[in-house]
Symmetry: C2
Subunit: 114 residues, 2 copies
DNA sequence: TCACATATATCACGTTCTGATATATCAGAT
DNA sequence: ATCTGATATATCAGAACGTGATATATGTGA
């Protein structure tokens, strides 16, 4: 839609990786759980987005593996880069603004989402 | 229920129409102004989305014209339907939840745009 | 009536999304 | 050991969506 914008899938992936490195299906689980099953990432959009995001420097494959004791060598863990972190912050800020407008226009009430 | 997922463009259009009926370029202006020029709807996505949204019953062409004194007959004004209103509320609610998560993960500070 | 801005519309092309399919490995049961 | 089902990554074709150029027509003011 406009310059420097993340797709919804890229945004959800970055948000999933914000607090810890995760592997592909770990990202899917975090997003599904966090959105109560409303955002479901299929394999196409997941691995396609991750590939693109590595190329764009938003994420990188993690060098260290969390919990090497109980590891699964098939997994590829991803880590947010500084650039990805900044893109996430900018995008989250845009959506925060949108939610504010929704409140101003009485589309949402102020009650906490639960 | 409504597996009715909105695109980002549809969401911005519904949000623009939430407080008053607007015509095509009026929607573009509202979105551009509200997002500080970060979301720019070109003619393709604008009229394409509106056409689709009428077909899906999210909006309808307005019967009455605001300010008939200084009117421009080329304009086509749009009005949000009940269904569109509900879809907007649901989508805004999802993004509100996402923004909350962003706050929890320390991606945003609490003092937002204003 | 001329020039420019406004307004809607469509098109070709590129990007992104969806769901099916493929391949391989792991973990536990037989 | 090997069978089975779950886990994990990957790719692909077709659909859906977004982009920017182009087209057509009309309003507005000089």
């Amino acid at each position: 839609m406009s310059a420097n914008k993340l797709t919804a899938a890229e945004f959800h992936i970055l948000l999933a990786l914000a607090d810890e490195d995760r592997h592909g299906l770990g990202i899917v689980d975090e997003v599904e759980c966090r959105t109560d099953g409303e955002v479901l990432l299929g394999p196409g959009i997941l691995y396609g987005s991750l590939k693109r995001m590595v190329e764009e420097g938003l994420v990188e494959e993690a060098t260290e593996r969390p919990d090497p004791e109980h590891d699964d060598p098939r997994r590829r863990y991803y880590h947010v880069t500084d650039r990805g972190s900044e893109a996430l912050r900018a995008e989250a800020s845009k959506w925060a603004r949108v939610v504010e407008v929704a409140l101003e226009k009485d589309i949402l009430d102020k009650r906490a989402a639960t």
